[in-house]
């Protein structure tokens, strides 16, 4: 048998086996499992077959609950069926998991183990999710490495068919699912040989079929349910043996030997760790080190099959010599006696000793500890600390490792300087931007080294939490021996910095070894570089005697047509100087991979990459560090000294990349954080920023309303205030009759917060009469403006905000004088969603409470370190929370119910206190008109006075009323999320909430695709568009969510596209909020997942409306009472064909390039759907006589 080596990640390893051994795959995207479903879908769309010569059917469902249901149904009908999921998704599958297990149905769920949402969401890895399903009856098999993922996926498949117990095969999210490793692939003949057809036949025989009818899924009563539940015991008893047999069978074919529990270490170990997951590899590495260097007798029991837990197999692995055992759980069960694996081990050991099945030299001490939550690093230093703890007479039980718990002191200390060095291993770190292709280049490099040399290779990639200007750090290891270091690189032989500005952000040379190689992409040449480096970096280079190379990769990119994509250039430099392989050989491999990667994208792309390889070598220069004189550039502080204390002491650490140093006491106990922190994280990511030209400006406010990051602000203020302005501060006289003659007007750009998307420039309607390319805002290089504009920005902030009572909020111009209370989010540059959110914050932010569905908006709205929801001078602002993905409407409705209840209670208390407060005053408060800003202002004044009076009254009622008096001021409930939530997973809840008649405002940010998880199709995806799980173009029309809501009759519904009509958008938001009932706004949100030029996205929005694909309308039930038609169309019949809109976007265009005839058919269908849609709405708008115009 040929043993083929492949370099892949854990997700791919699992998906290969799953796709080969199943017929139906029902999934729902969730990080980090999504790639398994996507790969399967791609393979099926390419016609790749399973071992039964059949192409598996892959279907994307509306939720994980739906996926589990479909899996259950397909299994009951006899198909071999699987799914992939993680975290909350796995929780949604629990009800079906009980069913599937209860019915003894063979299946494997492949799970990338991930944290659960508790005090916060986390996309990273731990065992919280899988441990929450340990009671379902599924067998649980854990893989520790990419190789094991492939092996155990197959073992699970064999074992489930033979045992009838459904299996959950799981591995660590990101650490294993996304780690790229060189492994041995399992050939198809082995997969075939492992799956016994007899058991497949039996699986099919158990299927529901009218040709052999029976009933399964009855309801049972107290008399027999219990007995029925006990029938399965023998199957669970047999399962461990069957699984071991499957392991043994795989061993026969591959030579890789596994047991249900594997022991590693000294056979006479006195101290043993028990654990499962990728951390085991690190423990093995540490055990070897301690043995070789200190002759320490330590050991590890790796738990493979966690459920059913075979005590018999487990105790056989415990060395007789053991004195103390540490059981590590990668989960947290607050309030429990201990975490699950610990409890199992304690029970197993106690029961076995007590029943004399286990004879040890002494009764061991057993302690439990938690590690690695949310992919927290787990290093040899931590392992050593645990082994050291086990030496103590009274080792700490229920400990934590890897954090500093300075509250309940659970944590073990560890020596951060302890490190295991491997002589024959090369460690490389690469710092880059997401947009420059660094990660892609490194993935290619690993493949080259892994597949073209006899080296072992490993790659792991760390991304930041921002979607714009995001940085990446790649960790690559290569060596002649298998790599067991499952943690980030601690000391690097090679460090590359692909972006000069990142030197300001990271202390990247702290990890490099003495004499290591440092490669820097620098606009400065070898002779001047030292004078341009931060002084600290220069000093490190000299002190560590680094081999320092520079290349101006941007210049090479420009010469070769690569633009800002530096991947090929920097990859070539890496191979040229790292010495991994001879340069010529490396270049040959790079070119081969370029051909492999880019051939499908055309020869031009291949040719420019080839040229980039050649030019990179020519432009790479070594710096003479001996002669170089250090510069004097000092790094600025991470955050301003003016920032609040929490930002300075805690959040700044996270910004700096030192979040691991934050102690438990520095974290809030309940996930509550202060608002308005994004303003302190000055990211300076824009290369170009807008510069205002007052001579051209017409004060329309369009630039501010479209700005996704609230980086363009407008104020109108008393001209006298200009006297103290910095010299370069710009202003003009305010235009319009709403301003008096002495009103000054300024548009100010926050250049350090701007992402440089240039939407403001594109939308600006004012042109310079002398040079029409110039507008009232023009893009200019940020670096030279930074200092000056920082001063101007600070001064601008000191100017008074507009008096909301006088603001003309119903015009774009007037609304943009309102302070945004959503600013500087981490959303993509040019994001199409955030302008709507910002508008909500401007119009209603000081009284808004927001329920935000999980997705892009919850990530850029609430991901640490800093968050964009802000406060005004009175310390009022949006109160924001994220519950889950699926329940956001209900979450928001709960807020409404609670607020209404508080208001009702307050009104009752007011009446009870009317004697003390004065009847007139009470009636004024209760009946206050709060329909506009002035009314709200007056009510706030009344409530202020009320509170003062209540303080004097001091009785039970007044004390009670004091706690809820603020609810007498109108509160605006907003339920915000994307189309994946509103159209799919949360649709049931959304439907129920709008049917409730309650006063909530629902904003759907419709990108027509699951943006946050990477572009999977939703029911909002347009007919003909390509998305993941619709690689041949979506064949059905977009669901008309608006029309569904209109059908209720009592729901305010609007469809808006700010880029096409900002005034209509503004009106819709104001009307929706003023409507005392449910409102639904569906907002066209352009997205990078559309494959468009984001700077020109306004054109796309206009085209969507002009083609009548996206009809602008407002349906206001209040008009019915006036005898008017509630539906008002705000856009007209089609001015352009649908394809003239669609083919502006690569999501549609790519199908034309993929399957021209099919694309043409879908385009025809799409046009017909657009025509029908227009007819329908036109008819609706004409019905009932009078139009609402």
């Amino acid at each position: 048998m040929i043993r083929k080596k492949v370099t892949i990640d854990g997700n791919e390893a699992a998906a290969i086996i799953a796709h080969k051994t199943n017929e139906v795959i029902a999934i729902y995207p969730i990080t980090p499992s999504s790639p398994m479903g996507e790969l399967s879908d791609t393979w099926s769309s390419l016609g790749q077959k399973n071992i039964w010569d059949n192409v598996p059917t892959v279907i994307e469902m509306q939720s994980e609950g739906g996926a589990a249901g479909a899996v259950h149904g397909a299994l009951q009908s006899g198909s071999l069926t699987t799914t992939f999921t993680a975290s909350q998704g796995l929780l949604l599958m629990i009800p079906n998991m009980y069913k599937i297990a209860g019915e003894l149905t063979s299946t494997v769920f492949h799970v990338t183990a991930r944290s659960l949402s508790a005090q916060a969401l986390s996309i990273f890895g731990d065992h919280s999710d899988v441990m929450a399903t340990r009671q379902t009856g599924f067998a649980m098999l854990c893989s520790n490495s990419v190789q094991e993922v492939m092996d155990f996926a197959l073992i699970s498949q064999k074992a489930t068919l033979e045992s009838r117990i459904p299996f959950m095969h799981f591995f660590d999210g990101f650490r294993t699912s996304h780690e790229v490793m060189k492994i041995e692939s399992i050939p198809e003949e082995v997969i075939k040989a492992m799956i016994d057809p007899e058991f497949v036949k039996q699986h099919r025989k158990r299927a529901l079929t009218p040709d052999n009818p029976f009933i399964r899924g009855t309801a049972q009563n107290p008399d027999v349910y219990f007995q029925g539940r006990e029938t399965v015991n023998k199957y669970y008893n047999a399962c461990p043996g069957i699984t071991q047999n499957a392991m043994d069978k795989l061993h026969e074919f591959t030579g890789r030997k596994y047991s249900l529990f594997d022991y590693y270490g000294d056979p006479e170990a006195e101290r043993v760790i028990v654990m499962m997951g990728s951390g085991s590899e690190t423990v093995e590495e540490t055990i070897d080190y301690l043995k070789n260097n200190f002759n320490e007798k330590t050991g590890l029991i790796k738990v493979r099959l966690y459920r059913p837990f075979s005590t018999e197999h487990f105790i056989n692995k415990i060395p007789k010599t053991v004195k103390s055992i540490a059981v590590l759980d990668r989960t947290k069960e607050p309030g429990s006696l201990g975490e699950p694996l610990y409890l199992d081990v304690v029970t197993a050991v106690y029961e076995s000793i007590e029943r004399k099945k286990l004879a040890l030299n002494q009764f061991p001490k057993i302690i439990g500890g938690r590690y690695g939550l949310s992919s927290k690093e787990f290093t040899p230093a931590m392992v050593k600390s645990i082994f050291d703890e086990l030496k103590k007479n009274e080792p700490k039980n229920h400990f934590t490792i890897g954090i500093n718990d300075d509250v309940t002191y659970t944590s073990l200390d560890f020596d951060k300087s302890f490190e295991i060095k491997h002589e024959a291993q090369t460690n490389c770190m690469f710092y880059g931007l997401g947009s420059d292709g660094t990660v892609g280049a490194n993935k290619n490099s690993i493949k080259i080294i892994g597949e073209e040399t006899d080296n072992f290779a490993q790659g792991y990639f760390v991304y930041d939490s921002k979607k714009s200007g995001s940085t990446t750090v790649s960790h690559l290891r290569f060596g002649k021996k298998p790599i067991k270091s499952i943690y980030l690189i601690q000391t690097a032989d090679f460090v590359a910095c692909h972006q000069f500005t990142l030197l300001e952000k990271f202390d990247m040379l702290k990890n490099i070894k003495k004499g290591g190689i440092f490669l820097l992409n620098s606009p400065y040449g070898k002779d001047e570089i030292f004078s341009k480096l931060p002084e600290k970096t220069g000093r490190q280079i000299k002190e560590k005697e680094l081999n320092f190379y520079v290349i101006d990769a941007y210049s090479v990119g420009k010469q070769t047509g690569m633009g800002s994509k530096l991947n090929t250039i920097m990859q070539t430099c890496f191979f040229a100087i790292s010495g991994i392989m001879p340069q010529d050989e490396a270049i040959g491999h790079i070119k081969n991979y370029i051909k492999k990667t880019y051939s499908s994208k055309g020869e031009e792309v291949v040719a420019k990459n080839f040229l980039a390889v050649d030019k990179a070598i020519e432009n790479l220069h070594k710096v003479d560090i001996e002669k170089a004189i250090l510069g004097n550039i000092q790094l600025p502080p991470v955050v301003s000294p003016k920032a609040p204390e929490y930002v300075r002491t805690t959040l700044s650490k996270i910004i700096e990349g030192l979040g691991d140093e934050v102690s438990v006491s520095q974290m809030p106990v309940d996930g509550t954080f202060p608002s308005a922190t994004a303003q302190w994280e000055k990211r300076n990511i824009a290369l170009e920023v807008p510069v205002w030209d007052p001579d051209v400006c017409i004060q329309c406010g369009k630039c501010a309303i479209i700005c996704p990051h609230a980086s363009i602000r407008i104020k109108a203020y008393d001209e006298d205030l200009i006297k103290t302005a910095p010299p370069s501060f710009k202003w003009m006289r305010a235009k319009g009759k709403e301003f008096d003659e002495k009103t000054a007007y300024t548009i100010q750009v926050a250049v350090e917060d701007c992402t440089g998307c240039s939407l403001c420039y594109e939308i600006c309607p004012a042109k310079n009469k002398k040079e029409v390319k110039l507008k009232a805002l023009n893009m200019a290089a940020q670096a030279s403006l930074r200092k000056k504009e920082r001063e101007n920005w600070d001064y601008f902030l000191s100017l008074p905000e507009v008096d909301r009572r006088n603001a003309h909020v119903s015009t774009v111009k007037g609304s943009q004088l309102l302070q945004p209370l959503f600013e500087f989010s981490g959303a993509c540059s040019g994001c199409g969603e955030t302008p709507y959110i910002k508008l909500v914050s401007q119009l209603f932010g000081d009284r808004a409470i927001i329920a935000n569905a999980t997705g892009c908006s919850s990530i850029y709205g609430g991901n640490l370190p800093t968050t964009p929801w802000a406060v005004n001078k009175e310390n009022r602002g949006p109160a924001w929370s994220n519950s889950l993905f699926e329940d956001n409407s209900e979450f928001g409705l709960g807020m409404r119910l609670s607020i209404d209840k508080h208001r009702e209670n307050a009104a009752e208390l007011l009446k009870k206190l009317s004697t003390e407060l004065g009847e007139k005053f009470v009636i004024e408060i209760i009946n206050a008109d709060q329909s506009d800003e002035a009314g709200i202002y007056e009510q706030r004044e009344r409530v202020r006075i009320l509170k003062e009076k209540l303080l004097d009254i001091k009785n039970e009622n007044s004390n009670l009323l004091l706690t809820i008096a603020d609810y007498l001021v109108k509160k605006s409930v907003w339920i915000i999320g994307g189309d994946g939530w509103a159209y799919d997973i949360g649709f049931g809840g959304l439907d129920h909430v709008i049917a409730s008649g309650k006063n909530v405002n629902i904003l759907v940010l419709d990108t027509e695709v699951y943006s946050n998880t990477g572009g999977q199709m939703s029911k909002a995806t347009g007919l003909g568009a390509v998305a993941k799980f619709a690689s041949s173009g979506k064949s059905t029309s977009k669901k008309d969510l608006g029309l569904m809501a209109i059908n209720y009759g009592n729901v305010y519904v609007a469809k808006v596209a700010m880029g096409a009509n900002d005034t209509q958008t503004l009106r819709a938001f104001l009307e929706a909020e003023s409507y005392d009932g449910p409102s639904l706004i569906i907002a066209y949100s352009h997205c990078i997942a559309h494959g468009i030029n984001m700077a020109k996205a306004i054109d796309n929005q206009k085209a969507a409306v002009d083609s009548a694909y996206w009809i602008l309308y407002r349906f206001d039930p209040r008009n019915l009472e006036k005898g008017l038609n509630p539906l008002k169309l705000d856009s007209g019949a089609a001015k352009i064909k649908f394809k003239d809109y669609a083919y502006k976007e690569n999501r549609y265009k790519m199908l034309k390039m993929l399957m021209p005839e099919h694309a043409s058919e879908l385009m025809k269908k799409a046009q017909e759907a657009v025509n029908e849609q227009w007819k329908k709405y036109e008819q609706l708008a004409k019905e009932n006589g009078k139009s609402s115009d």
Binding site: T31, P32, S34, P35, E38, D41, T42, S45, I123, H178, G434, S435, G437, V439, G440, F461, Y463, S465, K467, S470, T472, G561, G563, K565, Y598, S600, K601, G602, E603, E604, V605, A607, K608, K767, V772, I859, S1011, N1012, T1013, G1014, G1015, V1026, A1027, K1028, F1029, A1030, S1031, I1088, A1089, G1091, I1092, N1093, N1146, R1147, K1149, M1150, K1152, M1153, L1154, P1156
Partner: protein
């Protein structure tokens, strides 16, 4: 009545050839052109920009924002088998060739020296009977003198002709300092025909939005005078075929062009404006006119009013200008 003509060594049943236009975008439409009587069809142009930029653009937008954020490492399904503009074009030629019997000419539009030129061979392999090379070059560099500009045309032709077995027609603009000279140089470089003239679409200004906008206006009849004159001047001096294009709307225009020396006349605006049926009408009118005027064949009239064949050769030169002015004064 013999309407046949010889164009670049290919015998065509008549001199009516629809030029590169949207009419050749669908196979069905080309079939209708054939049914209406077209003797050959020049398929719409494959642009250099399509070849060089489309793949770059797709690569850019499909990879934009990838590998940046842990949850969304990509935004599109992993698809490899794209048909870029060029592939689609070649497939289109193949399909047309399968559906019609008349000769089909591919059209390649570009100017720079680069990979796009290899598509000439691919167009040949797709089955085209000839190729029209449209070097659309607007010189904007004040350092580039006329000889450098002309060199681009000659260079492109030579590169395209390499390894090509089908004939190549060179479509030219009228904006040369010495058209006869460049025409001769192109003949020497291997041009099998000259197509006179390329009708540049001139941009317009949108005064409402202060933007430069493309503005496509169909040709008018008077515009045929320019090619008419130059074909008449070059006929007999340049030993290539001539295709007349721009401003040909009626059978009379066709006749004039043939008499000036054109081997074929290319129609576009007339067909876009009044429909494909105009081909049939024009051929019929042509036949009637020839019958009435006792012409037996197209061959007979070809070049009969070229400069070398008219009584007053100066009518095509500066003297003709004086004559026109004098006529004007008399009016």
């Amino acid at each position: 009545m013999d309407l046949s003509t010889n164009y670049m060594g290919i015998r065509l049943k008549n001199p009516i050839v629809p030029s590169a236009s949207p009419l050749s975008k669908s196979v069905d439409s080309v079939k209708r052109l054939e049914d209406a009587g077209a003797s050959a069809v020049v398929v719409y142009s494959l642009f250099e920009e399509q070849i060089t930029h489309e793949s770059n653009e797709l690569d850019h937008y499909l990879s934009y924002g990838t590998e940046s954020y842990a949850e969304s490492l990509s935004y599109f399904p992993h698809i490899e088998d794209f048909n870029y503009g060029p592939d689609e074009y070649l497939e289109h030629i193949r399909k047309i060739k399968k559906s019609v019997d008349i000769p089909i000419f591919g059209s390649l539009n570009g100017f720079s020296s680069g990979g796009w030129m290899k598509y000439a061979k691919l167009i040949e392999e797709a089955g085209a009977n000839g190729l029209e090379l449209n070097v659309y070059y607007i010189p904007t560099d004040i350092e580039a003198d006329s000889s450098k500009v002309e060199e681009i045309y000659v260079r492109d032709l030579i590169e395209v002709k390499q390894n090509l077995n089908i004939p190549v027609a060179m479509k030219l603009s009228p904006f040369f300092s010495s058209l006869p000279n460049i025409a001769k140089r192109l003949e020497i470089a291997g041009a099998d025909a000259l197509v006179l003239f390329n009708r540049f679409y001139q941009p317009d200004f949108d005064l409402n939005n202060l933007e430069v906008v493309p503005n496509l206006e169909l040709s008018s009849n008077w515009e045929m005078r320019l090619p008419l004159r130059w074909i008449a001047l070059l006929y007999g001096k340049i030993n290539t075929s001539f295709a007349a294009t721009t401003g040909i709307h009626t059978h009379l225009d066709v006749l004039k062009m043939l008499m000036a020396g054109a081997d074929v006349t290319q129609l576009c605006s007339e067909l876009l404006h009044n429909g494909i049926k105009r081909i049939t009408e024009i051929i019929r009118s042509l036949e009637i006119w020839m019958l009435e005027n006792e012409y037996n064949s197209v061959h007979q009239m070809k070049g009969s009013m070229s400069q070398k064949s008219v009584a007053d050769p100066s009518a095509f030169e500066r003297a003709n200008y004086m004559k026109a002015l004098n006529t004007y004064k008399q009016m």
